[in-house]
Amino acid sequence: MQNFDFVKPASVAEAVAALGAPGAQALSGGQTLIASMKQNLAAPSVLVSLTGIAALKGVSVAGGVMTVGAATTHAEVAKAAAGVFPGLATLAGGIGDPAVRNRGTIGGSVANNDPAACYPSAVLACGATVVTNRREIAADDFFQGMFTTALEEGEIIVAVRFPIPERAAYAKFEQPASRFSLTGVFVAKYGAKVRVAVTGASNDGVFRWSEGEAALSANYDASAVKGLKVSPDGMIADLHGTPAYRANLVAVMTARAVAAS
């Protein structure tokens, strides 16, 4: 791995300043980034660890909204959400493995927007708000395709605010090697309105399955999506699943998420 300067600021302002350096890169858990650096596939000249910033950590609930600090680890979210937002707790508690969950953070995951990552589905399905050091971005505007987000240069995620749904669940079909989601579906119900977000399936990254949303908004039951066909166009084709297979999983995992919610 190429060497770099390591800095660990204590505040968001310091972090933003440090990230202004040429070749600077934020590190928030690093469970993807460090592996890439070990392969010499990423070579930042300055690495700015965000995990020392107290203001980015922790989970709070107020007025039906759960606010998760960007540097909160998956394990911490799983624990904090268990009673109030079990769907999110299940998702966070199922990412990677225990060691990954002790280091990886929600901010890192959401900013990276890996097309097979779990978190983006919850953020999108809940219509969560991504709070940065500059602004607030609605989930529907935040995710812009594979590894692409609305974040600007020098912009750091500070927190993600989830309106806690009435009912919600995440159902993941794991890719058998990496244990990323081959297809994962997060279903969130707010009154009569249901939002369904799918990860792992599309080349464009996380997306909302509008047909499923309509069906479930009309009848919130697993059977409502049973007969629905999903188009394989634009679905990921890899060793572990053809587009047709993933399209099938979208409906299957949606039904399972509904049943589990």
Partner: protein
């Protein structure tokens, strides 16, 4: 830069570069070679250690990022009198290891589980060991050892 940590209860320090991984620091600088490196994509779990009581993959963490932390490695898992600790002893009693290479990571992951879940079910043990790959045992005796270490009856897996 200089990094100071507490490793297995003892203060330790050494010079590191930004890129020095915790696993490298443990193995090369501190000669604690019980922490093993089995892959380069952060999946096999052979390098699992505890940082401030939580299991992490020491190959996917920079030494500089955990300055000041309490680190426990496999070398710190025996009882004070040198006898095997509870989890270690269960692994020996139930033949939970063969070549021994993944074993330090397995023991560290298992100990972390039992610390938060003193009586895990079989499914919980298997789920918890998701990030630790063993090629020798088929996991049977590892799962059995972890359950036995928790004081549970493992006769259902006796044969």
């Amino acid at each position: 830069m200089k990094v100071s940590l507490t490793v297995n209860g003892k203060p330790m320090s050494g010079e590191v570069e930004g890129r020095t991984l915790l696993s490298t620091f443990l193995r090369e600088t501190l000669s604690l070679t019980g922490t093993h490196i089995g892959c380069d994509t952060s999946q096999c779990g052979a390098c699992t250690v505890h940082v401030d009581g939580k299991q992490v993959k020491s190959c996917t963490i920079f030494a500089a990022d955990v300055a000041g932390a309490q680190v426990t490695t496999i070398e710190g898992m025996a009882n004070a009198d040198g006898t095997l600790g509870r989890v270690q002893q269960a692994f020996q009693d139930h033949h939970g290891l063969q070549c021994g290479f993944c074993t330090p990571g397995m023991v560290m992951a298992s100990a972390a589980l039992l610390a938060v879940n003193p009586k895990p079910t079989e499914a919980e043990v298997r789920h918890h060991l998701e990030g630790n790959i063993c090629r020798c045992t088929g996991y049977h005796n590892i799962v059995k050892a972890v359950m036995a270490a928790s004081g549970q009856d493992v006769s259902m897996a006796a044969e």
